[in-house]
C-alpha cells in the first residue's frame, strides 16, 4: 500500500493529520517556523496520523536542527538577509510537458516577485514544451539542440540575466521559500554553489517508495558548508542533488562550465552535477547545503523506470569518476570505488541474496552494479561523440 506525504508545522500542529484513507503509512515532514527540521515515516491508523507520534519521532533530544531552530526563534536571532536580490531560475527539460506545467505553476510567483524564469528545451521531439511555456506570460523559452542536460545547463548560464542561476528539475515542485533560502547563502564570496533539500512529492507506488529508501536526494536537515580546502573534494555526493541547486554564473569563469561529456542525455547518463560539485571543491571554493531550500521531486512511478534510473546512476558515478581520474589525475577515486564496493554494495548484495529482512531488491542492486561496470566505457563512448567542456583545476 502507498505512503502518503504530509507536512506538519510544529508551532501550530493539528491534533491529528487526517484524510489519509487508503494509505498504510505517512512520510511526515516537520517544520518549525517554516523551516524543515525532521522527517518520520509513521503508520496511518483509521485514516490519520496521531501528532503525538510525530513528536515522539521528531522532537527528540538528538535532533539538533530542530533545537537550533527553536533556540534561534526563542532568542529572536533573525535569518541573514539574502545577499542577492534577483536571480534567474532555469528549468532544463525534455519532452515532459505535464511535469513542466506543475513545476512552472510552483515557480511562477518568483517571476511576479521580479526574478527571471527561463525554460531550456533540450533537443525536443515535439513542440509541446514550447506551447506549455507560451501559456505562462513572461517566462523565457530557449531551445538548445546540443545533446544532454549539461549542455542545457550551460545554455542557461549563457542566457541568464542575473549573477545567480537556480536550477529546478522539471519534475520538481519548489516550495515557496525555496529561492530566498538558496539566495541567503551567497554572501560568502567563495560559495559558488548552494544546494537544497529535495523530498519526495508522492510515494504512490512501490517503485517510488524504493527510490526514496534506496537513493534519496535529501542530505538531512542540518545546514552544511562544504569547503574544498577542508575536505576530500571527490566526496561531492555530500552536496546534495542536481534537482535542486543554484550557482554563481561566475563559476563558469573560475572553474569552467558543466562537463558536457557527462550527465543525463549523454552516454554517461548522469553525473554532470556531481562532477561539477567536485570541480568547485577541488578549486578550493565552497558549496552550501541549505535544507531550508526545500523542493519536492516526483520520483519515477514504474519499476522499470526505477531500475533504469538506478542503472543510470551507476553509469554516471563511474563515468564521472573515470573523468576525474583521467582528466583530473585524481587517484583518490580508486579508493572511493573500492570503499563503496566493500562497505556498501557487497554487503547489500549478500543481504539480498540471503533474503534478510529490509533487504534491497536484488534487481536494483544488480542494475546499479551493471551500471558501475558500464560507466568507464560509457564515459569513453561519450568522449568520442561529445566535446569536453569542463577540464579540471
Amino acid at each position: 500500500m502507498a505512503t502518503a506525504v504530509v507536512e506538519v508545522e510544529l508551532l501550530d500542529p493539528p491534533a491529528r493529520i487526517g484524510g489519509l484513507d487508503g494509505y498504510a503509512a505517512a512520510l511526515v515532514l516537520a517544520r518549525l517556523g517554516g523551516r524543515p527540521v525532521g522527517q518520520a515515516t509513521l503508520p496511518v491508523v483509521e485514516g490519520s496520523v496521531d501528532v503525538g507520534r510525530v513528536h515522539e519521532a521528531i522532537v527528540t533530544d538528538s535532533n539538533r536542527p530542530l533545537w537550533d531552530r527553536w533556540l534561534q526563534l526563542r532568542l529572536g536571532i533573525p535569518d541573514p538577509e539574502p545577499a542577492v536580490e534577483k536571480a534567474t531560475v532555469a528549468v532544463c527539460t525534455r519532452d515532459r510537458p505535464d511535469d513542466l506545467r506543475r513545476c512552472l505553476d510552483a515557480l511562477y510567483p518568483y517571476l511576479e516577485a521580479g526574478h527571471e524564469l527561463l525554460v531550456v528545451d533540450n533537443r525536443p521531439s515535439t513542440r509541446e514544451t514550447e506551447r506549455v511555456v507560451a501559456m505562462y506570460d513572461g517566462v523565457r523559452y530557449v531551445r538548445e539542440d546540443r545533446q544532454g542536460l549539461s549542455a542545457a545547463g550551460n545554455r542557461a548560464f549563457r542566457e541568464a540575466s542575473h549573477e545567480v542561476v537556480a536550477f529546478a528539475d522539471d519534475d520538481t515542485v519548489p516550495d515557496p521559500g525555496w529561492l530566498p533560502a538558496l539566495l541567503r547563502n551567497f554572501s560568502d564570496p567563495l560559495v559558488l554553489c548552494v544546494t537544497g533539500l529535495t523530498m519526495p512529492l508522492e510515494l504512490e507506488t512501490e517503485a517510488q517508495e524504493w527510490f526514496e529508501r534506496y537513493s534519496p536526494f535529501g542530505r538531512g536537515f542540518e545546514r552544511v558548508v562544504l569547503d574544498g580546502t577542508q575536505m576530500n573534494p571527490l566526496a561531492s555526493w555530500r552536496a546534495g542533488a542536481g534537482a535542486n541547486m543554484a550557482f554563481r554564473r561566475s563559476a563558469v569563469d573560475r572553474v569552467g562550465p558543466f562537463e558536457e561529456v557527462l550527465g543525463s542525455g549523454t552516454p554517461a547518463r548522469s553525473g554532470g552535477d556531481h562532477e561539477y560539485f567536485a570541480r568547485i571543491l577541488a578549486a578550493g571554493y565552497r558549496i552550501v547545503y541549505e535544507p531550508a531550500a526545500l523542493s519536492w521531486h516526483r520520483h519515477r512511478r514504474t519499476w522499470e523506470e526505477l531500475r533504469r534510473t538506478v542503472y543510470g546512476y551507476g553509469v554516471g558515478v563511474y563515468a564521472s569518476w573515470t573523468h576525474e581520474l583521467v582528466v583530473g589525475r585524481e587517484f583518490g577515486v580508486l579508493k572511493m570505488a573500492c570503499g563503496w564496493l566493500i562497505r556498501d554494495q557487497l554487503p547489500a548484495l549478500v543481504r539480498s541474496l540471503l533474503r534478510r529482512p529490509g533487504r534491497v531488491p536484488l534487481d536494483l542492486l544488480l542494475a546499479e552494479l551493471r551500471g558501475c561496470v558500464a560507466g568507464p566505457w560509457a564515459y569513453l563512448a561519450s568522449r568520442r561523440v561529445l566535446p569536453m567542456t569542463g577540464g579540471w583545476p
Binding site: L11, P13, V51, I77, D188, G284, F331
Partner: protein, 453 residues
C-alpha cells in the same frame, strides 16, 4: 633621511576629510593599481588626500608616483627602509585629514571604500543603531580585504584564500566580539587624533603583527571596533609556500615581542599552545630550539615531499606535513627571539602570572529577567566575564578572554546561541515540555507565544 613632496601643489581644501596612507616597498605596478582604484572613488576627490610612504624602494616607485596623474592630492614620503610600522606612522604624521585610512599597496579599493569608512565613523559617532549610545571619537573601522589569487595557484594558495574569507566572515557576524587579532592594517580607518593619542604603530615590530600589537592597545583603551563590510577591497595575493613559511617565522618572533609588551597575552599566544605535546609537534620545537641547522635541512627535504603530495593530490597528507613545517618555522622564530633572553617557551608563558594585569570584571546575569534586561545590564557594566543563570540555575560561565574587547549587550544572543546552546535548550525547553506534559496540555513543546516572547 626622508623627503616629503606634494606633486600637485595646494589642494582645493585646506584640510581634507580623509588621508589615505599607503606604505610600500618595491611594488610599483601593484601600488599604481591601488592609486588608480583610489581615483575611481565615489567619495569626492577634493575631500581626500593620499600619502605614499615609500620605504626603502629600489625600483622606480618614486618616479611612478611623481608621474601618476591623480585627480586627488597625492604626496610622496620617502624612507630608507625602516619597516611598515614606521612608514605608516610617518604617513600619519604628514596627514592633514581628520580621518586616517591605512591601505596596503597590494590592496585594490572598491569604488565605495572611502565613503563606507567615512559613513561608518559618522554613524558610530552619532550613536547609530548597533554601535553605541554616546557620541564617540575612538571608532576604528576594519574593512574586508577579499583575496584574489595571482601567480601560481596550488593547495596552499587556495587554503590561504579560504582562511582569509573565513576571517572576514567571522568579523561580519552580528554581535561579533572583537579581539586584537581582528585589527588588520590593510584596510583600516581611525581618527587621526585618536591614532596619535595611542602613539601609532610600535616600530619594534618589523613587518609582522604590528597591527595586532596596535589592536591590543585599541582593545585596552576600549575603542569602538567596527567591521565595515561595505568598504570592500581586493587583496591581490602573490605568495608562495616557501615565503609564507618565512612569514610564519617572523610571526614567531613577533609573538615573543608581543608577550614582552603585553605579558597578559602570553597564555593565548600560539606559542603557549601544545607546550606539553608529544610526537611531531615536540620534535619541531626541539629542533628549532636545539638543532636549527639540522632542523632547517630536514624541513627542506620535507618541502620536496610536499610537492610530491600535491602532484599526487594527496591533500590530507599535504595538509598534515605543511602544518608541521609551518609549526617548525614558527618555533624557529620564537627561538631566535627568546634565545636572546635565554628562557624557554614554558618559562616565558609561566612568567605571565605575575604580570600585574587589572582584575577582570565578572557579571552574574539571570536570563529569566528577559534578554533585553540582560543586554542592558551588560552594556552598563561592560564586564570581561559572565556567569549565566536561569531562575538561579547555572547555565554556564564565560571566562575572561585576554586581548578581547569587554563584553557588550549585542554579544549576548550570538554567544548564547553558539556557546551555550545545549545548556539553554536543556534548561528552557525541557523544563517547558515537561511542565506542559505534566499539566496534560497540548503535546507540542513549541508554542508560538513562547517563541515570540
Amino acid at each position: 633621511m626622508s623627503a616629503s613632496h606634494d606633486r600637485r601643489g595646494a589642494p582645493s581644501r585646506a584640510t581634507p576629510a580623509v588621508t589615505v596612507v599607503i606604505p610600500t616597498r618595491n611594488r610599483r605596478a601593484s601600488l599604481c593599481r591601488t592609486l588608480e582604484a583610489l581615483a575611481r572613488q565615489t567619495f569626492p576627490v577634493s575631500d581626500f588626500e593620499v600619502i605614499v610612504a615609500a620605504d626603502g624602494c629600489t625600483d622606480d616607485t618614486a618616479a611612478a608616483v611623481e608621474r601618476f596623474d591623480a585627480p586627488y592630492a597625492l604626496r610622496l614620503v620617502q624612507l630608507p627602509g625602516s619597516g611598515a610600522a614606521t612608514a605608516r606612522n610617518r604617513g600619519a604624521a604628514e596627514a592633514r585629514g581628520r580621518l586616517l585610512l591605512f591601505v596596503d599597496d597590494d590592496v585594490e579599493p572598491s569604488p565605495g571604500l572611502i565613503a563606507a569608512h567615512v559613513e561608518a565613523h559618522g554613524r558610530a559617532r552619532a550613536g547609530g543603531a548597533g554601535v553605541s549610545n554616546s557620541a564617540r571619537t575612538d571608532v576604528v573601522g576594519i574593512g574586508p580585504c577579499l583575496p584574489v589569487l595571482v601567480g601560481r595557484v596550488g593547495l596552499f594558495q587556495r587554503k590561504l584564500r579560504s582562511w582569509w574569507v573565513s576571517e572576514y566572515e567571522r568579523l561580519a557576524r552580528p554581535g561579533h566580539r572583537f579581539t586584537y587579532r581582528d585589527v588588520l592594517s590593510g584596510n583600516l580607518s581611525i581618527g587621526a587624533e585618536h591614532f596619535r593619542r595611542l602613539g601609532g604603530f610600535d616600530t619594534a615590530f618589523h613587518g609582522a603583527a604590528e597591527d595586532w600589537e596596535f589592536g591590543v592597545r585599541l582593545v585596552k583603551s576600549d575603542a569602538e571596533l567596527v567591521y565595515v563590510g561595505a568598504a570592500v577591497a581586493w587583496h591581490h595575493i602573490d605568495l608562495g609556500l616557501e615565503r609564507s613559511f618565512q612569514r610564519t617565522r617572523h610571526e614567531g618572533r613577533a609573538d615573543v615581542l608581543m608577550g614582552l609588551r603585553h605579558p597578559e597575552l602570553r597564555p593565548v599566544l600560539p606559542l603557549a599552545q601544545g607546550l606539553d605535546a608529544h610526537g611531531a609537534e615536540r620534535l619541531c620545537r626541539m629542533g628549532a630550539f636545539r638543532a636549527p641547522v639540522l632542523g632547517d635541512l630536514v624541513v627542506k627535504v620535507l618541502g620536496w615531499q610536499l610537492r610530491v603530495h600535491e602532484a599526487l593530490r594527496m591533500r590530507r597528507a599535504w595538509q598534515g606535513l605543511s602544518g608541521l613545517i609551518r609549526r617548525y618555522w614558527y618555533w624557529r622564530g620564537v627561538a631566535e627571539e627568546l634565545g636572546r633572553s635565554g628562557s624557554g617557551p614554558a618559562e616565558f608563558v609561566a612568567a605571565a602570572a605575575d604580570a600585574g594585569a587589572p582584575e577582570p570584571v565578572s557579571l552574574d546575569v539571570d536570563l529569566a529577567n528577559g534578554l533585553d534586561v540582560a543586554e542592558d545590564m551588560i552594556d552598563l557594566v561592560r564586564p570581561d566575564a559572565l556567569c549565566l543563570y536561569h531562575e538561579g540555575r547555572e547555565i554556564g560561565e564565560l571566562p575572561p578572554v585576554p586581548g578581547a574587547e569587554r563584553l557588550r549587550g549585542r554579544h549576548l544572543r550570538p554567544l548564547l546561541f553558539e556557546r551555550f546552546g545545549r545548556e539553554l535548550i536543556g534548561v528552557l525547553a525541557v523544563a517547558e515540555v515537561q511542565g506542559r506534559v505534566r499539566a496534560g496540555r497540548h503535546p507540542t513543546p513549541l508554542h508560538p507565544e513562547e517563541v515570540a516572547r
